[in-house]
Amino acid sequence: MTRDEAFLQFLLRMGDNTLILGHRVSEWCGHAPVLEEDIALANTALDLIGQTQMWLGLAGEVQGEGKSADDLAFLRDAWDFRNVLLVEVPNGDFGRTLMRQFLFDAWHSIMLGRLMKSSDDRVAAIAEKASKEVAYHLERSSDTVVGLGDGTEESHRRMQEALDYLWPYVGEMFASDEVDAEMAAAGIAPDPASLREEYDALVQRVLTEATLTIPDSRFAHKGGRDGRMHTEHLGHLLTQMQWLQRAYPGATW
């Protein structure tokens, strides 16, 4: 694997995470439990889509085949997507959506913090811009997880169920492979495994405050970030997201 091939994979991983999560969050539009949440969810989705434009834009540049961020988002099939499985699982109830957001935001904020020191200026610049947005995402999702975890009996139960369901998807964010080794060697991105300690401390602190219990298992579903085996859900998501581009090829919108 050449450095550029690894770099492309890394950029697709970043951009596909934000694209797919942004899509999932946008599904809430108009259906949130309270108006302030409608606004916040739309705002989060908007930030994530904006970050997607930057990551996939750079991916297209590095790939060198003249593809735009839109080409990459709308014209790849599921096996070419490199997002972690966590972001493609269905929204479930509001509790699961916010728990997923928290588990992702915690990783995302630590990752972007490291990427701000990337040896590649373009990566550092994207990370710098995105990290400001993500700091807010994390603050909000943490507060909501704490509020609902330490709320009523029902809200506590639902948040614990959400955590139990999502926890097996956490480990994939810290898996390392040859792409990561190449990126770490080039100083472009950190080895994901090196983020775990900080992540565990952050997540433990918030979930303790939320009176929730982290499942006693390190089992991790994998297959998203290397495209080996996505969930069944991704295909349906892409069917909807890519429909216009697929049905009317070559049109500009």
């Binding site: 309270v34 739309a42 919108w253």
Partner: protein
Amino acid sequence: MYAQMIKTAGTGVKSREEMTEQERAFQDKIDADIKIEPKDWMPDDYRATLIRQIGQHAHSEIVGQLPEGNWITRAPTLERKAILLAKVQDEAGHGLYLYCAAETLGVSRDELTEMLLDGRMKYSSIFNYPTLNWADIGAVGWLVDGAAIMNQVPLQRTSYGPYSRAMIRICKEESFHQRQGYDAIRKMAEGTPEQRKMAQDALNRFWYPALMMFGPSDKDSVHSAQSMAWKIKINTNDELRQKFVDQTVPQAEYLGLTIPDPDLKWNEERGHYDFTQPDWSEFFDVIKGNGPCNTDRLAARNKAWDDGRWVRDGLLEHARKKRARKVAAE
């Protein structure tokens, strides 16, 4: 125009002789363009009418998220998706300002929401029409927001301070919405034959519902006269509708799209376009709950509210616990 068919409370405009001293002083302030603020005295009918009007406008912003949200997950490019998300987020924000303005009149957001959900309060008829192809998103921005702006720009001068200030903020964002809508439909009109077909189809379906947004003619209505005397309504429905038609026809021509009205023509003498009125029996059907989407829209809002109860309860309970812990620590 997101508030239509607002029933003005009271029996019509009183003469100065019929007014009490308080009412005369109130009317004098309005005539002098002095804003009425929440703590000022105001007639009960003025308050009741404003609650209906602002509440209906707020509900329209909220329900209005649904037809546009219908396309967020299918937006054809990342940029279009981002623009649409930003727009829908603005609309939820407009709902928030307006509920806050209504709250200054002594009604809570939850009370207004309950009245929307059980059908006691309405939202604009336009949101009971479906968005069926991507050009509809353009048409909503171009025609629906365009019609809304016609009404909202004059309402920036409305007599009630909090309402006027909400309108000033809202109008800034609405003009961006209208431009993005026009830009989206222009791309389609200039695009492939299929895209042009979508654009024309959208215009065919949204033209008359957009004209209905202004409400039926009210030039002879005593209720409208009262609302106008109070400056919570600035123009008659017909004036606004005519202005909208006059503005929109050249835009459609520029796009090469045909307005679905064979009798539409420029009237040199009047200096306005003559046009066909919408089918008002359809309008009254929609208002009564028989539009294409009334049931689904209200069901979606009720589901969001019911499904979200545990979240609202949870967050309230957490806030209560936090306060209790703080008190215990002191």
